[in-house]
Subunit: 351 residues, 4 copies
């Protein structure tokens, strides 16, 4: 079973070919190469905005660097309690920021609301220097529940943050999948809605290891070259990182890849629902959270289908009853009809 | 009005006199003096246990150092969401620990329960290295709501922590007041109940600036001398810090001081209740949280009585109705009957 | 023997009395008290300049906070290799700055020169982001060799720093003693010569525990309140810290105290030289570095005189011959003629 | 001109092919893949020793992680003043270690000696907690001057370190080139000589971005998985990192690549010397430091040959006269005879 993570897929052929093509001849190191320059232009075009962009190998690095550019060590970063930056990065944001405080906020379906942000800050109002200074609101797009914020929702959250002097970060590890669902442009989903910095993920969507920290206000990017080197994230043979991005961005390849992942998710969701298996959250990217009676879940596992219980605090009260469990299924650009058919056949065998 | 904080009081005469007495002649610096050695013995006697003890000037330093001794940078510290270490120290725990994650847990009356701790960890189970490693449970005694844990409650919480491989810290900024209420011994309230390290506060209870990090297992203290120096908390003329503690511990002076603070709180609580003003939380130390109709609160303030609205998430649903507000009143060893009478007179004038 | 450190002395009577006087009645905490406000005014008057001033309990904290206000984590701090900030603070500057690089520069007599600073930077020119960004030049006044920079020397060093975009910090743990020797005003020795921030030490010169971070450009001080709280250096009952400083600054008490320490050093130096014991460095503050044949040094120690070998890299080649050792003797405001006589009698007995 | 850095070369065909081959089908992420397991076995075989091995994308990360595994925040790391860890990583070691102190030691030809290590520690003996605790000796193999330590030299340095309770790290960014020159086995050059951890560099020697932290005592590796995740260096699609290493280690491919780089360096050195250009340091890896009269250097540059002055403190007094400059030339596995011929033709044209 290959639905455990979109990190289990390899890279797209086009991305791989670009790496091979980039190998010819010498190239300046540490970002001085022509491909890196080209990617900067591509990103500016993609976002229809001047950008400072930095390429790194992991999403955790991209997120932690982005947050470090936006908060002092005594700042706080507000994020959904299930957000990667809050829970899944082993304290990388704390490490990169020099010890900022990550404030975990609950919210249904993995999403924050302006009201939840306001409540978090108003029920215990900050009193610096005794408390941390609210500095960043971080939004995951798509969320850890596979849901997505509309541009209007991002804008409302960003306005709430802005009103309180906070910057806005978007963790876009699955940005492409969310974007396609919403039919919004990259610009509408980011700076036009008030996002200051996005961690733009390409790894889960067809690259080997390629993420970009994209900063819309160059002033906010001033410390990043130093932070990146200091964190060991300045790759020497930078052309290979850039080559992935260049191919991924070229002629909307990223869109094609995300469309494949989303299409596979759609088909899988339909087939599951046809078999009486409902979803815990609306399908707004490439992640499905299937609700199953515990007995059926155990029977499927006993039959060799690699399903894992997915703990989530994000469930609406009615979403998952007593005696039911949630399991997460992720599709990727590489998910084939055969992959889905095999899973469904397994489910059908067990009944 | 002097009920805003127990930090507004000065020091007790005995403590002050001890400082003056300590001034005679030369003394070794950096903790090599005789008074510091004596305090270590006094603390061992107080707790009926071998201890490693370190004297510092602030409670924030004591807490942050204690936590840093108990968690690696990738550890998490579970604490009540209103705990000083979680909210009121501007990220000092994050700073001293090298970026550990503070997990803020809600709970009525400022208190954690084993069930709340279990829920926090089980609803999103840790998966190192992707997530932080649960490392410390930190309990405030008394809590930020002026309540106190019984030794049995501490023991149950510590057992839950221990079962998950976590150490237990107690923030004892108002330890003396809580202890007297409960009639427990220092040993019963700490190591006998499973506490590994206590930040023992003397400043709020009659000293100028004197807090102790008391470690019951000397092995856990091994890094503290280095952490303390590195944090600028190794005072050179250590005799003056030790002199405060020595006097405070001598012949139960700390008990006398806490009894005075608690007695003043008792009298004030009775008088308020006699005037129809109820308390939001049980009075279990020297802090009162008075519930007032907003109109009366505003009238009192208009009359020049320095009351401040106290935001608290710890309230039981019924504790504070719509149209009511909570204000915090703290007594100290220095609170006189006159102070209380003046406050009551003001209240009576306004009605 | 009491010449091991000026931290072995207690506090002056006037300073002690001020603490007792400050105890009457309630006072706002955390620097909101009237005494703290008064000290700020006194410091502005002392330095004849607008200042932002922050009172802390230790010199290590003052230095590390000052440096943290002046350098980002990727900056470098140039200091003499024997400077406290480079060698004697267990990495406090690294800790407070978030990991800045301390560049240790050699120099005779504990002193840096513009040429040495230039050589350190030019022999391996910085290439950010690959290398740290030179951010601060830190000067110890007096130095660890008991020497002092003249205002002209400070100005030349500060000009070299400024030319390279670096700020200038002065570690003034023994500022008063140096200042009196040089007959300069506090202003001439600091901001008029190009110093941005001084750690002004009062502890070694008659206080219990009182140091000030004095910042001449308030903009550079913006982060300090947060850094101070976060480092556990915001004392709650701040009046007692301020009381020490207020008394110390009042009517040039600090001058009287430093004059006593310097006078004792002068007398001791004269007596030693009369006994054929020469000094390794010019006496420019209150520290003497006596050069002794090893045999005589050992004989004195055998006779119970507590002399310690003082390792120093700062010696001019001719200052200490083979078979000779250096020992450090420090006087303080509390050093009496009797103290000196006892030491001399011991020396005379041994011969 | 392509002699500026071995980072300007691409990857070897075999390494590239391995990446493409690794792309087939799904694979577990985060190091759970089969290729990563295989590389661990290959490394154990290479070093003839049980190892814990961690693959990361940059040499700076490998070095900083290795040091962080070996020193507490209050430790010191002794390294040559020109070592990458001391000078060229923008404070990454300070960042990863939580602020350890890097002690920069001078030494001819980029090399440390036991006597220099001893002098650094004995001229200012550590006195914890006032000073940092000497924790690690870091050796660069090859050095920044293109020289190499013999196994006996490593052993003598490691013995000096061990005697003082310090661990030994080797920065092996150009380990392969040095090893081939010395005819030693990887085991002889590392753990047999007392090295605890090596940062084994493959990027400069034919990979895209692949470095390994190899730890010979698994206990010392215990914190690394957490440090790696926390620093954003746990790549999700780990198979692609492992594929590079697997190919590089397979059938001594690394040796072939290093032999090509060294052979090119040999030829270039011979040709330069034939033209009256001498080397500042012995050629013991793949870096040449050519000494040129300033006029000739300027003439060559004017003729379009991209030579850069190389500042170095490592020169023996006689190595570079007044009016002479040093320029660095690096060869790689990809350096062709044509590349060398073009450079020589340029030199010959200018004369």
């Amino acid at each position: 079973m290959d639905f455990g993570s979109d990190n289990m897929a390899g890279a797209s052929d086009k991305v791989l070919a670009a790496i091979t093509a980039a190998n010819a001849g010498p190239a300046d190191a540490y970002g001085g190469d022509a491909l890196t320059a080209r990617v900067r232009e591509q990103l500016a075009a993609l976002f229809e905005h001047e950008v400072a962009a930095f390429l790194v190998a992991t999403g955790t690095a991209a997120n932690a660097l982005a947050l470090a550019a936006l908060t002092p060590p005594w700042g706080s970063v507000l994020a959904h309690e299930e957000a990667h930056v809050a829970f899944d990065e082993c304290g990388a944001p704390e490490f990169f920021t020099g010890g900022a405080k990550i404030v975990a906020i609950p919210g249904e379906g993995g999403k924050l609301t302006p009201a939840a942000v306001a409540a978090a800050l108003d029920s215990q109002p900050p009193r610096p220097p005794h408390t941390a200074v609210p500095a960043v609101l971080s939004l995951s797009q798509a969320t850890e529940a596979g849901t997505a914020y509309t541009p209007a929702e991002v804008a409302a959250l960003a306005a709430e943050a802005r009103r309180r002097g906070m910057a806005v970060h978007m963790d876009g590890a699955r940005f492409a999948s969310a974007l396609l669902r919403l039919g919004a442009s990259p610009a509408e989903m980011t700076w036009k809605a008030g996002v200051d910095v996005i961690s733009l993920g390409a790894t889960k969507n067809g690259c080997l290891a390629a993420e970009a920290v994209v900063v819309f206000d160059p002033e906010r990017a001033a410390t990043l070259p130093l932070r990146i080197k200091r964190a060991g994230h300045l790759v020497s043979k930078s052309r290979f990182l850039a080559a992935q991005f260049a191919a991924w961005l070229d002629r909307d390849h990223w869109r094609d890849l995300a469309a494949r992942a989303n299409g596979a998710a759609d088909r899988l969701a339909g087939e599951l629902q046809a078999r009486g298996i409902r979803l815990a959250f609306p399908l707004q990217a490439n992640e499905l959270f299937a609700v199953l009676p515990l007995a059926r879940f155990e029977a499927l596992r006993a039959a060799g289908i690699d399903l894992r219980r997915w703990p989530t605090r994000s469930l609406a009260p009615a979403a998952c009853g007593a005696g039911e469990v949630v399991t997460r299924l992720i599709t990727s650009f590489a998910t084939s009809d055969d992959d889905i058919n095999r899973l469904l056949a397994g489910i059908d065998r067990v009944g």
